[in-house]
C-alpha cells in the first residue's frame, strides 16, 4: 500500500466527514487514514487534532501508543511474523531469522526494493499451525524458512 495522490486534503476531509457524529471517532479515523494512505503523517495529525478539537500532542500520543499505526510510508506489502509463545514452540526464530536475512532489515524496516515492510506480531491467532506469517491480510501456517522463501517469491511476482 503505497502513498498515492489521494494523500491530500480532500481525502482527509472526506474521512473526517464520514466520521462526524461518531462516538469516540479517533481510532476509526486513524484506521481510515492508514488504510487509504498507508501511514499517518504529522500533517494528518495536525488536521485531525484541529477537527476533533484536540491538541496535536494528544493525537500524536494516540498514534504512537499503538503498534499498528505507522508514521512513515511502508513498503508495498507488510509482512507480519509472529514471535509469540505458540510459534516459538515450533521454532519461529528460524523463520524470523530468514525474514530478516532475505529482506535485509529488522522489524519496522522496509526492504531496499520497497516491496516489503517487516513487522513483528504477537499472536495472529493461528497457534495450532505455527509458525505463522501474515502478508497484508493473507495468513500462512506452518511457515518454515523454505516456505517463507516461496511465499515471498510469490508476492514478488504479483
Amino acid at each position: 500500500m503505497a502513498a498515492t495522490e489521494l494523500d491530500n486534503d480532500s481525502t482527509l476531509e472526506r474521512i473526517l466527514a464520514e466520521h462526524a457524529g461518531m462516538e469516540g471517532p479517533l481510532l476509526p479515523i486513524l484506521h481510515a487514514v492508514q488504510d487509504t494512505v498507508g501511514y499517518i503523517s504529522a500533517e494528518h495529525v495536525a488536521s485531525i487534532a484541529k477537527a476533533l478539537n484536540m491538541s496535536r500532542a494528544e493525537v500524536h500520543g494516540v498514534v504512537s501508543f499503538y503498534h499498528y499505526f505507522r508514521q512513515h510510508e511502508p513498503g508495498r506489502h507488510v509482512v507480519h511474523v509472529c514471535r509469540a509463545e505458540a510459534c516459538q514452540a515450533m521454532h519461529c526464530e528460524k523463520t524470523e531469522q530468514h525474514a530478516r536475512h532475505e529482506l535485509g532489515v529488522d522489524y519496522g524496516g522496509t526492504s531496499a526494493d520497497g516491496l516489503f515492510t517487516l513487522e513483528a506480531a504477537y499472536c495472529l491467532g493461528n497457534c495450532a499451525a505455527a509458525p505463522t506469517v501474515m502478508v497484508d491480510e493473507k495468513l500462512y501456517g506452518r511457515v518454515t524458512p523454505e516456505r517463507l522463501a516461496a511465499i515471498l517469491a510469490d508476492w514478488r511476482n504479483r
Binding site: 469516540g24 471517532p25 499505526f69 514452540a89 506480531a121 504477537y122 499451525a129 495468513l139 501456517g141
Partner: protein, 513 residues
C-alpha cells in the same frame, strides 16, 4: 443432481490452503461436468485436518476428507469424491471421529456446520431461540438465569458474568452499553476468532440478550486488528441480522432497541484489560484505569457498561435457550459449563476442543493433542496465555478447573494451551515473558513499565552466568514487586511464567552456557 460441499473459511483453514483447495475443486467439478453447491463454513476445530472438505452423500450425511490440499483434488475427484467414495483421505462423518465425539459442544455447536452469515441457517440450527425467550422475560429474570448458570468470564478473569450484568441492571442511566472484548491477544488462543468467523450470529445474539436484559441500546465489538477475517464475518453477519430485524430500533418487533458496531483495535495487548479497552474505544491511549469505579457503574463514556469476552457472550444464547440448569450441569466445583480449549504449539493434533470443566491437562495433551508434533517428549506447557504459569509434566494431571489451577499457582485463563518439547530453554522463555511485558506495558504504573525492562536485564545477567544466585534472588524480589504493585494483570501476572520457570526448571537457569 447437485453435490453439496462444505469447506472452511476460517482463517486457520485459509492459512493452510483452503482457498486454493476451493478453487481447485471448482475447476475439477467444471471439468467433470458435475454441478456442485459449495458453502464456506467455520472450522470444526481440527486444525491438523485442515483444509477439511465435507461432501454430502446420497443419504444426506456429510462425509469428511482431510487434509485436502489443492494438489490432492484431481486424484480425489477421480476416485469419486463427489460420490463420497473411499479414499485414503476419507475420514467419515466428523461426528463419529473420536476427537470430535468426545467433546461437549455447547457454545461451538454450530461452528463448522452452518454458513456463518446466513440468518436462515442460524435459525434452522436453534439460533435466536434464546433471544426470543429473553424477550418474554424481565431484565431481572434474564440476569437471574445467567447468574444461575454459573457462567464465569471466559476471557480469563473468571468473574461471574451474572454479577456484572446485575450491577449494570441496577444502575439508572439514560444510556448504557454492552461492550464485547474481542481483543484476544493471548498466544495460544483463537476460540474468540473461531466463534466470530464460524458463528458470528451467536455473539450478536448474546450481546443483544445482554442489551435487552440491562436496558442498553448500543453495543460495540472491540476487535483486534490482527483478525481481519473475523471483522469481515462480523460486519456481514451484523448487516444480515439488521436486515431481518434482529438488530435495530425494534429487536424482533419488540419495541426494544439494540444495535451493534465493530471497532478495530490497533495492536495493543493491553486492550484485553477491560478498562484499557474502554479507553481505547473512547479514542485514547489504552492506559489502564484505576478501579473503582467499576465499568459496570462508570464504563464507556462514563456510562454503565457490560463488558464481557466473546465466549462469555457467545455462551449466553444456549443458557437462555436451554435454561441455566442445563448449562450448570456441565463442569466441576465452581467451574460450571464448558470451556473451548485451544491445543497449540508443539502438538500433533492441534485445534479447538470444547469440553466440560474437569478434563485433565494430560487427556488434552495426549488423548486429543496426540503428543508433540516433533515426536520428542513434552517438557513444559503454558496454560492461559503469556501471563500463565509454565507447568512441568508432574502437574499434567491437574483438572481444568479455575480453583484447581489457582491452587498450583497457575491460570486457566482463556483456555489456551501451548506445548513445548524438550528442546525448549525455559530461561529464554522467562526472558521472553519479561520482554513481552516491556513491549506491551501501557506505562501507567512503575512496577510494570520499569520492572519488565529490569527483568529482562536481570535474566540476561543470569544467562551470562554473572553472580547467578544474587541475580536469581533479585529476580524473585522484582517479581514480588511487580505482582503486588502493578495496576493490572499485565505487570501483576508476568511473574507467573517467570517464577514458574525458575521453580520447575531450575537447571535451565543454573547451567553454564
Amino acid at each position: 443432481m447437485t453435490v453439496r460441499i462444505y469447506i472452511s473459511r476460517d482463517a486457520a483453514a485459509q492459512a493452510l490452503g483452503a482457498d486454493e483447495t476451493t478453487a481447485a475443486l471448482q475447476v475439477a467439478a467444471a471439468a467433470k461436468g458435475t454441478s456442485i453447491k459449495l458453502t464456506r463454513v467455520g472450522s470444526r476445530g481440527m486444525v491438523w485436518l485442515e483444509p477439511l472438505v465435507e461432501v454430502e452423500d446420497a443419504g444426506g450425511q456429510r462425509i469428511a476428507y482431510g487434509p485436502v490440499t489443492a494438489d490432492d483434488v484431481p486424484g480425489l475427484v477421480q476416485a469419486g469424491l463427489f460420490d463420497a467414495a473411499p479414499h485414503p483421505l476419507r475420514l467419515g462423518r466428523v461426528e463419529d471421529l473420536p476427537w470430535f465425539a468426545r467433546q461437549e459442544r455447547l457454545t461451538f455447536a454450530r461452528v463448522g456446520v452452518i454458513d456463518p452469515v446466513s440468518v436462515d441457517d442460524y435459525v434452522a440450527h436453534g439460533g435466536f431461540a434464546g433471544l426470543k425467550r429473553a424477550l418474554g422475560m424481565t431484565g431481572a429474570e434474564i440476569v437471574h438465569e445467567v447468574l444461575e448458570s454459573g457462567l464465569r468470564g471466559r476471557g480469563g478473569a473468571a468473574f461471574p458474568t451474572g454479577i456484572k450484568w446485575r450491577t449494570v441492571l441496577e444502575q439508572h442511566s439514560p444510556q448504557k452499553y454492552v461492550v464485547c472484548n474481542a481483543d484476544e491477544g493471548d498466544s495460544g488462543t483463537f476460540s474468540d476468532r473461531m466463534l466470530m468467523e464460524g458463528d458470528p450470529l451467536c455473539l450478536i445474539e448474546g450481546m443483544t440478550i445482554a442489551g435487552i436484559a440491562v436496558g442498553a441500546t448500543k453495543g460495540y465489538i472491540y476487535l483486534r486488528c490482527e483478525y481481519p477475517h473475523a471483522g469481515h464475518a462480523l460486519r456481514e453477519a451484523i448487516a444480515a441480522a439488521r436486515a431481518r430485524g434482529y438488530l435495530g430500533p425494534g429487536v424482533c418487533g419488540s419495541g426494544k432497541a439494540f444495535d451493534l458496531e465493530v471497532r478495530m483495535g490497533a495492536g495493543a495487548y493491553i486492550c484485553g484489560e477491560e478498562t484499557a479497552l474502554l479507553e481505547s474505544l473512547e479514542g485514547k491511549r489504552a492506559e489502564v484505569r484505576y478501579r473503582p469505579p467499576l465499568p459496570a457503574i462508570k464504563g464507556l463514556f462514563g456510562q454503565p457498561t457490560i463488558i464481557n469476552n466473546v465466549i462469555s457472550l457467545g455462551s449466553v444464547p444456549i443458557i437462555l435457550e436451554r435454561g441455566a440448569a442445563y448449562y450448570r450441569d456441565f463442569g466441576m466445583g465452581r467451574s460450571r459449563g464448558t470451556l473451548p480449549i485451544q491445543l497449540t504449539g508443539n502438538l500433533k493434533r492441534g485445534g479447538l476442543v470444547e469440553k466440560a470443566f474437569g478434563v485433565t491437562l494430560r487427556e488434552l495433551l495426549y488423548d486429543f493433542g496426540g503428543g508433540s508434533a516433533s515426536g520428542r517428549p513434552i517438557r513444559a506447557v503454558q496454560v492461559g496465555g503469556p501471563l500463565g504459569a509454565y507447568l512441568p509434566e508432574s502437574q499434567f494431571d491437574t483438572p481444568l478447573d479455575y480453583e484447581a489451577f489457582t491452587a498450583i499457582g497457575a491460570l486457566v485463563g482463556h483456555g489456551g494451551i501451548v506445548a513445548f518439547d524438550d528442546t525448549v530453554d525455559m530461561a529464554r522463555m522467562a526472558r521472553y515473558a519479561m520482554e513481552f511485558c516491556a513491549i506491551e506495558s501501557c506505562g501507567k504504573c512503575t512496577p510494570c513499565r520499569i520492572g519488565s525492562t529490569r527483568g529482562v536485564e536481570v535474566i540476561d545477567r543470569i544467562l551470562l552466568g554473572s553472580e547467578k544466585q544474587a541475580n536469581l534472588a533479585q529476580l524473585q524480589d522484582l517479581c514480588e514487586t511487580m505482582q503486588h504493585g502493578s495496576l493490572c494483570g499485565l505487570g501483576g501476572m508476568t511473574p507467573f511464567p517467570v517464577m514458574s520457570a525458575v521453580k520447575h526448571f531450575p537447571g535451565d537457569f543454573s547451567r553454564d552456557r
